[in-house]
Symmetry: C2
Subunit: 108 residues, 2 copies
């Protein structure tokens, strides 16, 4: 993963609304969620939500697909994994860590 993409992804997640949106999509999994449902659940105005969805999309963290007059947004797990991996790369120069870095997803 490129540094600029990492920064873009971290910036995308470093905002209350976008963090909540992303986590909601991570929880929803393969089903995804529409902007309407997200806006309803999170109490965010359509214009504002759209702006934030675009930020997350540009970062590659979420992906929209169209279904009739709805859009469905889904988390991109590969992108998330790449991001998490980047932060711990070459951790402790390959030595076993004093405080080991744990697997992030207990159910996988």
């Amino acid at each position: 993963m490129e540094e600029q993409n990492v920064i873009r992804s971290l910036s995308a997640l470093a905002q209350e609304i976008r963090l909540r949106v992303f986590r909601a999509l991570v929880v929803a999994g393969p089903d995804g969620v529409t902007p309407g449902a997200l806006g309803e659940a999170l109490g965010v105005a359509p214009t504002t939500l759209s702006f934030h969805l675009k930020e997350l999309s540009h970062a590659g963290l979420i992906v929209p697909t169209r279904d009739g007059r709805h859009l469905i947004y889904r988390a991109d797990y590969a992108q998330m994994n790449a991001l998490l991996g980047y932060l711990t790369e070459n951790c402790c120069r390959g030595a076993p860590c004093a405080e080991p870095v744990a697997p992030v997803c207990k159910t996988c």
Copy 2:
């Protein structure tokens, strides 16, 4: 981990200099690095570096300790783990993920 702390941590990492600083500290491990050495390695002015070190410290991602007239900064692995875990919490509602979320640190 509290949402506000998560956002603060992500904001802290979502900046070129701070991301490089943090990764340098992750690689350095328990030895840590001084601001002087970081500034030298990354080509950053002392004032600017100090500002960014404070941002990372406030987020709890790095911790300074004094050693004579030097400060030594170290990554806080527990905070990093908590952050990474937060992003994948309740992933796919506990179902096995379509695209599994991998352990982030191969050497641990």
